[in-house]
Subunit: 114 residues, 2 copies
């Protein structure tokens, strides 16, 4: 059975625990959704044209929430380019644990579509 | 802020509370993930070529889990055709509540790809 594991408790390459993102990837953990909404908005405000939002286990719901709020309230020019789900295997003391992952690729639309 | 609301507590068209699906749509609620895995597998065993898995709020994580387990363990010939997320507005006593939704379209691949 898949289990819920907070993203940054299992050895992801997050060296700074206060950092929510590496380059253009935002890892969704257990903080309030609005923290991740702001992280997404900030990335685009800093000039990123593509941002990847990544959530694992129970954080998958929060990842979707953060994307939906960010796009509806703050980023009308950003679109969901691609949504993928997968299964990741993590080695733990009890053996291999399987956990579901979602990745949502967001892109800034520079050209008006009218 | 988006809120988590169990799918069948807010007036979805599920007349029979014991039923997890309508036609080929499987609504993910608060039951154990394996219930939904079995619901997905059963739909395809009954001859459906396309099944839609739909989860709302915190059930989004469970929807992804159910799909990942079903495809990896039981349905090697089924593929994720499309994954979409959206925001649904629900009227409640406290006004309009927004909730995130995920829909995963699964299709049975009849032709071998080799």
């Amino acid at each position: 059975m898949l289990q819920a594991i907070p993203e940054d408790s299992v050895g992801t390459p997050i060296s700074d625990k206060n950092s929510l993102s590496i380059d253009n990837v935002i890892f969704i953990g257990n903080k309030p959704t609005m923290n991740y909404v702001l992280a997404i908005v900030t990335q685009f405000q800093n000039g990123q044209s593509e941002v990847v939002v990544r959530g694992r286990g129970k954080a998958i719901s929060r990842a979707v929430d953060a994307v939906e709020v960010a796009l509806h309230k703050f980023l009308p020019q950003v679109e969901k380019q691609q949504i993928t789900t997968s299964t990741e295997e993590i080695e733990s003391e009890d053996g291999v644990i399987r956990v579901s992952v979602i990745e949502i690729v967001l892109t800034y639309q520079t050209d008006a579509k009218i």
